[in-house]
């Protein structure tokens, strides 16, 4: 498996090298640049798979059983506190990433202790988290990971400690697949369904892992019920029933039948497929690049050939020039059109997204104000503040999902104009929702000082929320799904007032102040997040424009090169025979390159069991 894998990527690399050589000979440094970029893409074949789910659903056990190694923390009580990234390494190794306000630092840690670092209750883990532990990376030698598969174990959502856990699932759009764990003890809950719905929009492949099937006699019925719920919610998943316990037992006893019974072979096959698919996408892109370069080079060679072969050289040349000019004109006209399309399209997106954000913020504001009206801001204000932040972070996330969808749409429409292959579409690379912004904004809490306890808790809250601490997107999505109507939840968080009449006025004042603070906060939110999303759109616009302009320039240059070559052929000192021989040779190697590119694009790997 590994050999074949390396063979394919190596082949792709050597094809690229050959093409680069060819382009260099023809002095097309623009094409060389593009091919080099494609080569970089081959260099980092990581396929990210996130393992997610509510807490205590067997996520860490699943990874451990999958790799038959204790890489992730598993305990009856304590839960995973920071994400663990597991990837291939020849020797077992582990590192910890710390993120503080000043720096991001990666430190080597003992491999055996790695699981402890990621666990909630472990003293070492607690110490490391106090220092700003952000993630634990573990390298382990496993065949399954050799092809670039990277598994990410995430802290579960919904746990008591989860409000402050740090998972960046702003990265979810970059995941190649998501494994969602839910155990067989009960059917899916409303929060889980809501989470899956959001995940589906951000990630193309969702593997639904029903865990702990060894314990629950009715697991088949639970699976049926779950799939029915998901079908009703319009979520498509690939269900796999698993027993991590059985897989570990099977590994201990070297029992293949038991391994088959555990359901893991199906998961391995599925993950291999995900890896193969993502590799396929990469190889297809490489093939496309090679194709397009070969086409352009061939054009030059052919121009020269036709100038030589045909006796009526001059006439041919004139016709070529006319053709070229016509094509240039056409492209220019097109270029005008695509630019308009791009600008208009993204301007629309920008205003839509901005509007969407404002509507969302207003909804939150209204809920918050009615909650304040029903309660006393001096009580439970810290819970209320964290509710507000979570709610806004969640809204930001959904707003950005919308943004990504809309810009992709525009990019696709522009691409249609070029009749480009799908893989050649210029796609904006990284878009992350600025949820951290929500954290960094300050919520004025002066009015809560009335309660001594509230004040100190508030300071602690500010501290723990400040800085570069990233919001847990997963948590937020799930928290939003709390099946209480959100307004009610907020009201419940806000201490209910049991005041006597004489204190009513003070209470009213506190409410006014709280409302003012919340309004200011939401205003800030609008300004910062709105600015960020406009920036993102502008950046996307630039990226798209530059990307497409580059392609256009290449094409234009190819045309003029072809013209020059034809002229050069006519004036050449070399004999016709020599020139023809070289042209034949060039065409042959170009054809060979094209053949190799085709091979890269069509070959499918045999899925490993």
């Amino acid at each position: 498996m590994a050999g074949q894998q390396e063979g394919r990527l190596a082949k792709a690399a050597s094809t690229l090298d050959l093409t680069i050589k060819g382009a260099t000979v023809y002095q097309r440094e623009d094409l060389v640049r593009r091919l080099n970029a494609a080569k970089d893409m081959l260099g980092q074949p990581s396929v990210l798979v996130y393992v997610v789910g509510e807490f205590k659903q067997g996520k860490s056990s699943l990874i451990n059983a999958l790799l038959t190694a204790q890489v992730c923390p598993v305990d009856d009580d304590i839960a995973t506190a920071v994400p663990t990234v597991v990837k291939y390494a020849d020797e077992p190794a582990a590192t910890a990433t710390y993120v503080t306000e000043q720096e991001t630092r990666v430190e080597k840690i003992p491999y055996e202790a790695a699981a402890g670092y990621a666990a909630e209750g472990d003293p070492r883990g607690a110490e490391a988290r106090a220092k700003g532990l952000h993630a634990v990376q573990i390298g382990i030698q496993r065949r399954l990971l050799q092809d670039g598969l990277v598994l990410v174990d995430t802290p579960g959502v919904g746990g008591l400690g989860s409000v402050h856990t740090t998972v960046t699932v702003g990265a979810l759009p970059q995941a190649h697949a998501v494994v969602f764990c839910s155990d067989a003890s009960q059917e899916l809950t409303a929060a889980e369904i809501k989470f899956l719905k959001t995940a589906q929009e951000l990630c193309p492949t969702i593997i639904f892992a029903l865990t702990k099937t060894d314990l629950h006699v009715e697991w088949r019925r639970i699976l049926q019920l779950d799939l029915a719920h998901l079908a009703r919610a319009g979520v498509t998943v690939e269900p796999i029933a698993l027993s991590s316990e059985l897989r570990l037992q099977a590994a201990r006893r070297v029992d293949q039948t038991m391994n088959a019974e555990s359901g893991f072979p199906a998961l391995v096959a599925k993950l291999t497929e995900v890896v193969a698919d993502s590799e396929q996408v990469t190889l297809k892109a490489v093939g496309n690049h090679v194709h397009s370069v070969v086409d352009q080079l061939e054009q030059t060679v052919r121009a020269r050939q036709s100038a030589l072969v045909h006796p009526e050289r001059t006439a041919q040349l004139t016709r070529d020039i006319a053709d070229t000019r016509e094509r240039l004109e056409r492209l220019k006209a097109r270029s005008a059109r695509w630019q308009t399309l791009l600008y208009d399209g993204l301007a629309d997106v920008s205003s839509d997204i901005d509007h969407d954000l404002r509507i969302r913020a207003r909804g939150v504001l209204m809920d918050a104000e009615s909650a304040i009206d029903e309660g006393d801001p001096a009580k439970n204000f810290e819970e209320f503040a964290s509710w507000l932040r979570q709610r806004l972070a969640g809204e930001t996330m959904e707003n950005y999902a919308e943004l990504i969808r809309a810009t992709r749409d525009v990019a696709g429409r522009v691409a249609e104009h070029f009749e480009l292959e799908e893989s050649a579409i210029v796609v904006p690379l990284r878009v992350e929702a600025p949820v951290a912004k929500v954290d960094s904004l300050e919520l004025d809490t002066g009015f809560a000082v009335a309660s001594k306890k509230g004040a100190t808790a508030m300071a602690g809250l500010q501290k723990s929320y400040g800085g570069l601490m990233m919001f847990t997107m997963l948590t937020h999505i799930a928290l939003l799904a709390i099946p209480l109507p959100i307004g009610l939840a907020a009201a419940a968080l806000m201490g209910r007032s049991g005041m006597k009449d004489d204190r009513k006025r003070q209470l009213e004042q506190r409410r006014q102040k709280a409302k003012l603070a919340v309004r200011r906060y939401v205003d800030e939110f609008n300004i910062h997040v709105g600015k960020d999303s406009r920036d993102v759109i502008r950046r996307i616009q630039r990226e798209l424009r530059d990307g497409y302009t580059e392609r256009l320039d290449e094409l234009l240059r190819s045309l003029s090169e072809a013209l020059k070559e034809a002229e050069r052929a006519v004036q050449s000192e070399q004999t016709e025979q020599q020139q023809m021989e070289r042209i034949e040779a060039d065409l042959k190697s170009l054809a060979m390159l094209r053949g190799q590119a085709d091979e890269l694009m069509t070959q499918r790997r045999v899925a490993a069991a």
Partner: protein, 482 residues
């Protein structure tokens, strides 16, 4: 103690209100209030979906009454109360209650709602002659966090103060599997008013304890550890009196173990070790593999009732010779399950405080009635006297306040809550003395405790809330001395 008199005084005020309300719009409400004072304590069993609420209820009643299933199952709020005869009454959202025929199976799993869709039923009331239901009426609720929003909403209406006619329950047993943010929200919503749900009348149950830690043999010990951790967590302390682990399947099966089930377990225990271990590895193997003498259907029925952990434990108990017959096994299972502890807690803590809790519920209900229809000055005065004189209620409030803010009494070593009667109403328990301590000893301890809190109350450096709290404790001590 004066608890009985508080209830008596409350009953009197409610009685007066009833006489006054005769013939007015609020008459039925006051009448209901008056009737409720003499009813047993109402304990609601609440929690997230599939936490095992119905299973626990069956275990508490000692009868497979409530329907249980692998899928989400309880859809109607159902009251189980002691009654002279078996009877099921169904209360639609509108319209008169309808009596339903009692299912022959004895379980509500097969009840016929006589054409009523569960959505239009506000509640069902089951009368069941049972000694266990004499002390308290149990209320089974649909789970929160359900896919079906409406089902979840119904429990919230019953249990949170927003519900019409106030809350239906005096106390709550809250089941959770692991503490989930949903749970905290729910408990907070329930607990967040002057009154209804307070930590004093909420017991947290770490349910399905047998499934903790992947049902390994030490699952129950792990569960106990987790429950202790939750009980000590300040976020949970604010919401629950305490947290105890319960393995519902073991408990309900222990309560209703059949001789036939016992004999299947005996035959399993007699299998050769290797065959038995293979069989008990997974549920799939347990119900399908070849095993001498025990037919798969019997095994399926058994594992449904007891769970894999339960079967493993029962087989082990039989092998160890600790369960010579069905009743011995049943006792062991009940003890293992933790239901005995929960039951004891309900009877000692809730039931002993039942009068105060009921008086409190009545006082609150009366107060909210007075908001809509102000009483005559005389009744108002007597009502205020009742409230002012109820030191028991003050004690309850202080327990809650201590839970809310443990720094309220800086010098407290945990004895303040005990003194307030959180762990039992008896003076000896309150003072932390042995049950055998004599009157002299009780008096001496009460005096020294009194002096201690007196000092706190008069400490010039104490903040006002601290001094107030200490004065309440002083009065509690005084109450024990008169």
């Amino acid at each position: 103690m004066t608890t009985s008199t508080l209830l008596a005084r409350t009953r009197q005020v409610v009685g007066d209100a009833q006489a006054l309300a005769e013939g007015t719009r609020i008459a039925p409400m006051v009448a209901a209030l008056a009737a409720r004072i003499d009813e047993p304590l109402r304990v609601a069993i609440a929690g997230r979906v599939k936490a095992g609420k119905s299973t626990l209820l069956n275990a508490l009643v000692g009868q497979d009454l409530a329907a249980t299933d692998a899928g989400e199952c309880t859809r109607i709020v159902t009251w189980f109360r002691n009654g002279p005869a078996y009877r099921v009454l169904l209360f639609p959202n509108d319209g008169p209650p309808a009596q339903l025929p009692f299912p022959e199976s004895g379980s509500l799993a097969s009840i016929d709602l006589a054409g009523h869709a569960p959505e239009v039923v506000s509640r069902m009331v089951v009368d069941w002659p049972s000694r266990r239901l004499q002390a308290m009426t149990l209320i089974d609720t649909p789970g929160i966090g359900s896919i079906n929003e409406e089902i979840s909403a119904r429990s919230r209406v019953l249990l949170t103060p927003e519900g019409p006619r106030g809350s239906g329950a005096d106390a709550v047993v809250y089941l959770m599997r692991h503490m989930h943010t949903d749970d905290v929200d729910f408990l907070e919503a329930f607990h967040d008013t002057e009154g209804q749900g307070r930590p004093v009348n909420t017991i947290g149950v770490l349910a399905r304890a047998d499934e903790v830690g992947h049902s390994r043999p030490d699952a129950l010990e792990s569960a106990a550890r987790i429950a202790d951790r939750y009980a000590a967590d300040p976020r949970v302390r604010r919401l629950c009196h305490t947290v105890v682990p319960v393995a519902g399947l073991l408990a309900s099966c222990g309560a209703t173990l059949l001789q036939s089930e016992y004999s299947v377990l005996v035959r399993l225990a007699a299998l050769p070790a290797e065959a038995r271990e293979g069989l008990l590895l997974t549920t799939d193997r347990f119900i399908s593999a070849e095993a001498g003498g025990v037919e798969p259907a019997a095994r399926l029925a058994l594992v449904r009732r007891l769970g894999l952990f339960g079967v493993r434990s029962a087989v082990e108990l039989i092998q160890a010779g600790e369960a010579a017959d069905a009743s011995a096994l049943a006792v062991h299972l009940q003890r293992l399950s933790g239901i005995t502890t929960l039951h004891e807690m309900l009877t000692t803590r809730f039931a002993a405080r039942a009068d105060v809790l009921k008086a409190r519920t009545a006082i609150q209900a009366l107060e909210s009635l007075f908001v809509g229809s102000p009483p005559p000055p005389d009744l108002r005065r007597r009502f205020d006297e009742l409230v002012a004189g109820a030191h028991e209620l003050t004690e309850l409030r202080l327990i809650d306040a201590l839970r809310e803010d443990p720094t309220l009494l800086p010098g407290d070593d945990g004895s303040a809550e005990r003194l307030l009667g959180s762990y039992g109403d008896d003076p000896r328990t309150r003072l932390g003395l042995d049950a055998t301590a004599d009157v002299v000893k009780v008096r001496e301890t009460a005096l020294s405790t009194l002096a201690r809190w007196q000092r706190e109350a008069e400490d010039p450096l104490a903040t006002r809330p601290t001094a107030t709290a200490a004065r309440i404790l002083v009065r509690t001590c005084e109450g024990m001395l008169v």
